[in-house]
């Protein structure tokens, strides 16, 4: 219920359009009912007049029939256009809203989520929220308005029929939906969960195609996809069965009401308290009145799945951000040093801290090399620097102010960082580069690519910068992808440069050329070079060796080079030193 109210509050900008849609919808249905009732009355009255040979005013009912027919058609059209327009606007606004809510969480607070599942939230779940108004709120309110009007009208002619009508309408409009809800709620919720699961499995099925082709010849993963899909279809089948039952049930109620009118109305016609034409009028009226009831079982059937989708969206939005944003952030200075003072960090749920007592002073113009075996905490330092996570002991400051006083996004504007998990978008080379600087001129792009050593490759492509690099850059080699990522980072104009294994996958020759070009011109920028290879370290002001989350040795490059030797005991993971 809380989620439903929250949904309603999100719909507020469209509220008046939605109210209008409900009112028009009710009016259109009433026009339809009136059309049927008037027609029934009209021909009976005409026949009675014909038999009795008396004159009759056929202009008024004729005009009414025409008017109702037009009101019904136009009203139905308007109601649909207004209702859908409002709903789709609501849904369209939810996507960027949700994306913006996800942004502060990434990557730390959403790494337990599969991308296919997040896609399902952004796509399918938000799509499903359109039902909240179109299938649930609108028919419920419009149906209520129509029923009240219908019952009041019938009551003017026959109280008993009106009472029975209330009972039957409640049975069909509340009892039947409640039954359908009871029998289908689990299935409806499961459909929501399973469509997300299916998305996630399909993403794997496609992106891990190579692995599955070789290691899964018996199609185990395929069976999982089929299994989820079949289970979903089975649930939908159950829901469709219930839906069919409900449609038939509403029909049954309407017909039963017709019989009631005939059986109770006939004696009153005979005794003269009801005129002849009024009998078919009431009969057709109650019959068509149930058109307002017909969508209600579906509304109840849709409700659990819609609420489950809303929950999936809100549960993400409710997650606490891994890094708090200050209420009044300090302006971030243009320039400055990034300084770690005794910073420590433990991953949630981990037994051991990932980092302990890290001291690094990345002052303007200073270059620090960070070395150490994989898993020693180098990438955690990057994570802290980017403020994807906050240290749980010690301090990190930029230009003298604690990073926690800045807006994280503004702070990141001062940093150009190549991470280990640098994502290349399924787009062209140019589009990937422009991410760093949307205003970069073609010359600037070329210059960055030249420094990263990727320009000759780009120029050799028939489509040059407009070459499509495939899913996650699958159409280019690992080394090319790395250099493209590096070029992208070089495009970003920021005082702090952090490169996490920038030359991974490159041969020594290219590695040297790339590093020479990158290091030749860092000017006032400070640089943190994280590497497990010796190239470039000689150009650092300081080299820091990190093991098991703490700094075990630091010094000038010349004295630190011995740690790069494979036989040096310090780089053995089993060796601990203080």
């Amino acid at each position: 219920m809380k989620d439903f109210l929250r949904l309603l509050s999100l719909m507020r900008p469209q509220a008046w359009w939605m109210v209008l849609a409900v009112v028009v919808s009710a009016l259109a249905t009433l026009a339809h009912i009136a059309l049927m009732a008037t027609s029934g009355w009209f021909i009976t009255a005409m026949a009675a007049a014909g038999i009795a040979g008396v004159a009759i005013d056929f202009f008024t009912p004729g005009a009414m029939i025409r008017g109702f027919a037009i009101a019904r058609t136009v009203g139905r059209y308007l109601e649909r256009v207004v209702g859908h327009e409002a709903t789709l606007k609501f849904v369209a606004s939810l996507r960027p809203w949700f994306f913006e809510k996800l942004t502060p969480l990434a990557p730390a607070a959403i790494e337990d989520q599969r991308s296919g599942d997040l896609l399902a939230r952004l796509k399918t779940d938000i799509d499903r929220l359109e039902f909240a108004f179109l299938r649930i709120i609108s028919p419920a309110f419009a149906g209520l308005l129509v029923l009240i009007a219908g019952v009041l009208f019938v009551a003017r002619y026959d109280g008993t029929i009106a009472l029975i009508l209330i009972v039957v309408a409640l049975l069909a409009g509340v009892g039947l939906p409640a039954l359908v809800h009871m029998l289908g709620a689990t299935a409806s919720r499961r459909v929501t969960a399973r469509s997300a699961e299916l998305n996630a499995l399909l993403v794997d099925h496609i992106e891990a195609r190579a692995e599955l082709d070789i290691y899964d010849p018996d199609h185990r993963h395929r069976r999982a996809v089929d299994g989820v899909s079949d289970a979903m279809l089975a649930d939908e089948n159950r829901l469709a069965g219930l839906g069919g039952f409900a449609i038939a049930g509403v029909g049954l109620a309407a017909q039963a009401m017709l019989v009631v009118v005939l059986v109770l109305g006939a004696p009153r016609v005979l005794e003269g308290s009801l005129s002849g034409p009024e009998l078919p009028m009431l009969a057709l009226l109650v019959l068509s009145l149930f058109e307002a009831v017909a969508p209600l079982p579906l509304a109840c059937q849709t409700l659990p799945g819609t609420l489950a989708s809303a929950r999936r969206i809100f549960s993400m939005v409710e997650r606490p951000a891994p890094v708090s944003v200050p209420a009044t952030p300090q302006p971030v200075p243009e320039n400055g040093g990034l300084v770690f003072s005794h910073a420590g960090f433990t991953y949630p749920g981990a037994e051991r801290p990932a980092l302990r007592g890290i001291d690094l002073a990345l002052e303007p113009g200073r270059r620090i090399g960070l070395i150490g075996p994989s898993g020693s905490g180098k990438s955690s330092i990057v994570s802290l620097a980017l403020r994807y996570r906050a240290p749980d002991e010690g301090q990190i400051s930029f230009a003298g102010g604690s990073v926690s006083d800045y807006d994280p996004d503004a702070l990141r504007a001062r940093m150009a960082v190549l991470t280990q998990h640098d994502h290349l978008f399924s787009a062209t080379i140019r589009e990937n580069l422009l991410l760093a600087d949307p205003n970069a001129s073609p010359e600037k792009l070329e210059e960055a690519c030249a420094r990263a050593g990727i320009l000759p490759f780009i120029q050799a492509q028939p489509e040059g910068f407009d070459t499509f690099i495939g899913v996650h850059g699958a159409k280019i080699s690992g080394g090319e992808a790395r250099r493209l990522g590096l070029a992208r980072v070089l495009l970003k104009d920021a005082p702090v440069l952090i490169l996490d294994e920038p030359t991974e996958g490159l041969d020594t020759d290219t590695e040297r050329r790339v590093l020479d070009a990158v290091l030749a011109d860092t000017g006032d920028r400070s640089l943190l070079l994280i590497t497990h290879r010796p190239a470039g370290l000689e150009k650092m002001d300081e080299v820091v060796l990190i093991e098991n989350g703490h700094i075990v040795a630091r010094g000038a490059p010349a004295e630190m080079m011995r740690y790069m030797d494979r036989d040096d005991p310090v780089s053995r993971p089993d060796k601990t030193r203080t």
């Binding site: 005409m46 056929f58 369209a92 994306f99 290691y215 990141r412 020594t508």
Partner: protein, 616 residues
């Protein structure tokens, strides 16, 4: 800047983050556009699987229609008797009983109609899904890299789902729209030819208008579906790259991009819906006018005494039922357009080049020893890119060969051919003398241990990732693989150890750890053929050395083909194939190639084939 390109020529079809606020979403117009006939044919192709259920749903909807006629007859009789013959309701006990019986029958019939309609659609959806997933496998890993994953996922999930109303509603409605009106005409004409004629003449207007309007809506519908799949592709990419977007302060721009895409999708959807609503308004309008005409004609003839009341009321009750199935078909026509829109992406998937080697049925002879041979193999991709140009060599059983060469020389393509991810344009790849094209490809792949250049984790536990194809991986073998691949520290770190979840939605692994996990897969499989694509590319010094030790233990006795870019992966190889521009430039072992002083010696001398040299 992007000024020289029009949206039509942008090959990638995605979001472009350009020029500050001025973000645009370009269109991937180079996609092949299947014509409407193909799309309809694609949809109808699955009809066979649902034939029985469709027949049932149509039969029962006709039964419902006939019951409606009968009920109208009985209702008209009662009202006629009560109002004009002043008879008590008791006289009509039989009719009342009949109506009650009909009501119950209608209830059952309507329910059964719905059930069979959905059952038919379920069968079609299942068949469609199976076929499309088959396609993904036939296109293969190399071919699938051409399309954004989110787009394919949308075609496979939402696209298939969108076909449901076409089968459960449109097809039954299109039959009922013929049968029931004809039945009503047969009843009405003998009673009153004027009403019959009115119905007969107005009926065709409905389908005619529907088709006229539908034509305009169809292309919009296809556009809307294209927009929908593209948006999914964009959203998945954006979510997967969210951390990178943040690092570049581009998340806000992407949010605006998402807003623009969502709004464009909304507008396209609305333009489709407007037409759908307009068409149903026209349909309702004509139906209303026609019913009103029938009512008025009847009314006046009743007034003039030219018709009896029973006939008049009976016909008036039937008139809405005459148009109901036509209107239902009009509404369901939207379902057809939806399905056609959704079918487009599926047909594109169906038309995508099936790059993967389908193989044949021949069993792999003596699988414990593998000898592979390439015979004048050429590989040209559909876009004209020449990857390999006449490759011939043989790796005798138990030997390991290394592939070296500059980036783009064709090393990965050569491995992909052997793995069956792509099939040769000409020439043959032989395994134990049998061409891959004839070989049972699944059986062949069971005998390969493969480490790709950029391994991908699969959702699930660490154990399931090391042995993805097995329901219950053997613990001892798992632990052996973990030790051999130096994955012990990862297992110790991941909560739950081997049963802990990794990959997306689980504990994160670094690039090097993911690589070692891929090596563990190869160890677990214990296969006679080992294919490695730069196995130590992403490893630090120490891990690389460990992996090399491990591989040196793994390789003896097995056949190996290893793309390598480091000397340490090459020097011990039995033979080294030096690739250049898609051909084999030289062959030999390390010593002979060094002595020869050719391309290989150059690569080594210039440091393009580095050893782990200790720093001087």
């Amino acid at each position: 800047m992007n000024s020289t390109r029009t949206p039509e020529t942008n090959p990638s079809g995605n979001l472009v983050l350009i020029a500050g606020e001025n973000v645009i979403t370009t269109d991937r117009e180079t996609d092949p556009r299947p014509d409407r006939k193909r799309l309809s044919a694609f949809l109808s192709r699955f009809r066979g699987t649902a034939r029985r259920d469709l027949r049932m749903t149509m039969t029962f909807s006709v039964v419902t229609g006939l019951l409606i006629i009968l009920q109208a007859f009985l209702v008209a009789r009662i009202i006629n008797g009560v109002v004009f013959q002043s008879q008590g309701i008791g006289v009509y006990a039989t009719e009342i009983a009949g109506i009650i019986a009909i009501i119950l029958l209608r209830f059952g019939s309507v329910w059964v109609t719905e059930r069979f309609g959905f059952a038919a659609a379920t069968k079609v959806m299942r068949a469609m899904r199976d076929e499309l997933i088959d396609r993904v496998e036939k296109i293969g890993p190399v071919g699938m890299a051409e399309t954004r994953t989110g787009e394919t996922v949308t075609a496979l999930a939402e696209g298939v789902r969108a076909v449901e109303p076409y089968y459960s509603r449109y097809i039954p409605a299109s039959v009922l729209a013929v049968v029931l009106p004809v039945a009503i005409l047969i009843v009405v004409f003998p009673l009153d030819w004027i009403s019959g004629l009115t119905l007969l003449l107005t009926a065709p207007l409905i389908p005619v208008f529907m088709i006229i309007i539908g034509k305009g809506a169809e292309s919009r519908n296809q556009k809307q579906w294209r927009r929908r799949t593209r948006m999914a592709g964009q959203l998945l990419d954006a979510v997967q790259g969210l951390a990178t977007l943040k690092g570049f302060n581009a998340a806000g721009r992407m949010a605006r991009e998402v807003a623009i895409a969502a709004d464009g999708y909304r507008r396209d959807t609305m333009s489709v819906l407007r037409i759908a609503f307009l068409s149903s308004m026209v349909l309702e309008f004509f139906a209303s006018v026609a019913i009103a005409m029938v009512a008025v004609f009847i009314g006046f003839r009743l007034l003039w005494g030219e018709m009896n009341f029973f006939d008049g009321l009976f016909i008036l009750l039937l008139a809405p039922e005459f148009y109901a199935p036509l209107r239902a078909m009009g509404t369901a026509y939207h379902a057809r357009m939806e399905a056609i829109g959704a079918a487009e992406r599926m047909v594109v998937l169906e038309d995508a080049p099936q790059l993967a080697e389908p193989g044949g049925t021949a069993p792999l002879p003596s699988p414990e020893k593998i000898e592979i041979a390439f015979e004048d193999v050429h590989l040209t991709f559909p876009d004209g890119r020449v990857a390999l140009n006449g490759i011939s060599f043989t790796v005798p059983a138990g030997q390991d060969y290394a592939l070296v060469g500059p980036s783009g020389a064709g090393k990965s393509s050569l491995l992909h051919l052997l793995l069956g991810f792509v099939k040769p344009t000409s020439g043959r790849v032989l395994v134990n003398g049998v061409p891959l094209g004839e070989l049972d490809i699944k059986q062949w792949r069971r005998h390969i241990g493969y480490v790709p250049q950029r391994p991908r984790l699969i959702v699930g536990t660490l154990a399931a990732n090391i042995a993805p194809g097995e329901d219950a991986p053997d613990r001892a073998r798992l632990e052996h693989a973990v030790t051999q691949a130096h994955l012990t520290d990862v297992v110790a770190r991941v909560p739950g150890g081997l049963d802990g979840r990794v990959g997306e939605g689980g504990a994160g692994l670094s690039g090097g750890e993911a690589h070692r996990l891929a090596v563990a897969r190869a160890f677990y499989r214990d296969a006679p053929m080992i294919v490695l694509d730069e196995p130590t590319a992403h490893l630090d010094h120490e891990s690389a050395a460990q992996i090399h030790d491990a591989l040196e233990r793994l390789l003896p006795g097995r056949t190996g083909l290893i793309a390598a870019h480091r000397l340490s992966g090459v020097v011990h190889a039995d033979q080294i194939l030096v690739l250049k521009g898609g051909t084999i430039a030289e062959t030999g072992d390390h010593e002979s190639l060094m002595a020869k002083g050719g391309l290989y010696a150059d690569l080594v001398r210039t440091g393009a084939m580095p050893e782990w040299e200790p720093l001087s």
